[in-house]
Symmetry: D2
Subunit: 139 residues, 4 copies
C-alpha cells in the first residue's frame, strides 16, 4: 500500500526565466525534494544511506508540462512511489498550484542503487522493509 | 534533411552534486543550449522570436542517463530536430564525453509555440522555412 | 523601526556540490527568498511591482561564509532591511543552522529601482510607506 | 607577476530570470568557471587537488553589477589572482560583454584550503609554486 506525500514549495524568483514562468528544468529539483520527503517519511535518511556507501543515481527522468508555474505561486508536489524493488525505485509526481488546484506538471523518475564505484547494488533489507511499510503521515 | 549540431561544454563545478557527479537536472540546461545553437544555425534567433511575440514553452522533457558526467569533463551535446511542424518541435539529444566517446545520456524535448497570453499559435512561415532548410554547418 | 524576518528552508540535494556541502552561489537564492518574504510582510508584492513597471535589479551582493550548510539541514534565513530610501534598498542576512544555532553565513545585497528600459526611478510613495511601517509579524 | 585569464561563455536561457536579464546569482558560477580555468592554466587540476585530500571552500564572495547580461550575449570573464598565500587565494573578476566591450560586473572571491574534515590546511609547495609561476597563455 503506497500513498502520496505532499510537499509545498513557494516558487523562487531565481527559478523563473525570461518567458516569465518557472524554467522547466527546475521541476526536477522539486521532484527531488518530494522524493527526499517521501523517503524521510519512510524512515530513510539519504545522508545515512550515503554514509553506508549507497548511492542512488537517477537513470530516467521525465516531465509533462500542462501549465506554467509563476513566481510566488505556492506549488504542491505530490509524490508517489509507483514501483519499487531492491534494484530500483520509480517515483511519479503531480505538481499542483495551491491557489486554484490546477495541475501544472506530471513527472516520473527512476533511480537505481550503486556503491561509490558506480556498481549496481541491491538495497539492504533494512531499508527495503521501510519502503514496504510506506510513509508515515507526518515526520 | 535534418542533421545533428554539435555543442561542446565543459562541466562546471556548480553543476556537480554531493554524489560527485553532474546533477541530473543540469542535463536539461545542456539540451537547451544545444537547441538554441541548432536554431541559431538555422537562422532563428530566439530573442528576435520573443520580440515578435512568439514564446516556445517546453511541454515535454525526458532524459535517460547511461553514465555520469563529472566535473571538468568536456561534454558534447549532439542536437537533432527529430520532428517539426508549425505547431511543435521535437528535439533529441545525445550527450557524449569527449575524452572517451562514451554516451552519457540521451534526451528529448517537445515545445509548442504560444503568444504572450499563453495561447497556442503556429510558427510564421518565415521561420518555418528556416527549419525546413536546416542548420548550416557553422554560424 | 526595522526588524528581522525569518524564513526556514530545507537544503535541497541539488544545492550541494562535489565537496559535499551547499555550493556558495546558492546562498544568494536564499537571500532572495528572505528578501521576498520581508517585502511580502511589508505588504509589497513583487509581481504587483513588476506589473506597475517597477523592476528592482541587484547592484551589489556579498556573502561571508563561516561554516558549511549540508544536504537536509534546515537553515534559517534572518533578513533585515538595513537601510532604505526611495532610490535603493540594502538588506542584510544571517543564515543559521536550525539544529545547533550555528551561524553559517552573513550576506548583504543592494538593489535599486528601474523602469523596463533600465532607467533608475524612485519608489512610489505608496510602497515606500509600507517599508517605513515595516514587516508585520506574520502574513 | 600575475595576469588575467580570459574565459568566454554564451549566456544560457536558464540563466535568465523574469526581469529578462541574467539572474545575479549566476555570475558566481561564471567567476568559478574563470577561476577553474586560471588554475588549469597554472597546471593545477582541481580534481587532482580533491583526490589529494585538499578542498578549497569559498569564504567570501562579492559582486558589483554595472549593467545586465542578457540571453545569448557572449560574456568574457577576465580572472585575476589578486593575492595568494599558502593559506588563501583571492581572485577578482571582470565580466565584459563581447559585442560592445561594456563592463557588466566586477567580482571578488576568497577561498581557503581545508582537508575533508574541514580543518584549515596550507597548500602544498608543489601547487604553490605553480601559482607563483602563474598561468600559461594557453592550455
Amino acid at each position: 500500500m503506497t500513498q502520496q506525500v505532499l510537499l509545498s514549495e513557494r516558487v523562487r524568483f531565481v527559478e523563473t526565466d525570461m518567458m516569465g514562468v518557472v524554467h522547466h528544468a527546475n521541476y526536477f529539483a522539486w521532484f527531488e525534494a518530494g522524493r527526499v520527503l517521501y523517503l524521510r517519511r519512510c524512515g530513510i535518511d539519504l545522508n545515512e544511506l550515503m554514509q553506508a556507501g549507497i548511492l542512488f543515481p537517477i537513470t530516467e527522468a521525465a516531465c509533462q508540462y500542462k501549465a506554467s508555474a509563476r513566481f510566488d505561486d505556492v506549488v504542491q508536489i505530490w509524490t508517489l512511489l509507483q514501483e519499487f524493488s531492491r534494484a530500483k525505485l520509480i517515483f511519479t509526481y503531480d505538481v499542483v498550484r495551491q491557489s486554484d488546484g490546477r495541475l501544472l506538471a506530471q513527472g516520473r523518475t527512476q533511480n537505481v542503487f550503486t556503491n561509490h564505484d558506480g556498481r549496481i547494488i541491491r538495497l539492504p533489507a533494512a531499508y527495503y522493509e521501510r519502503l514496504q511499510r510506506g510513509p508515515t503521515l507526518k515526520n
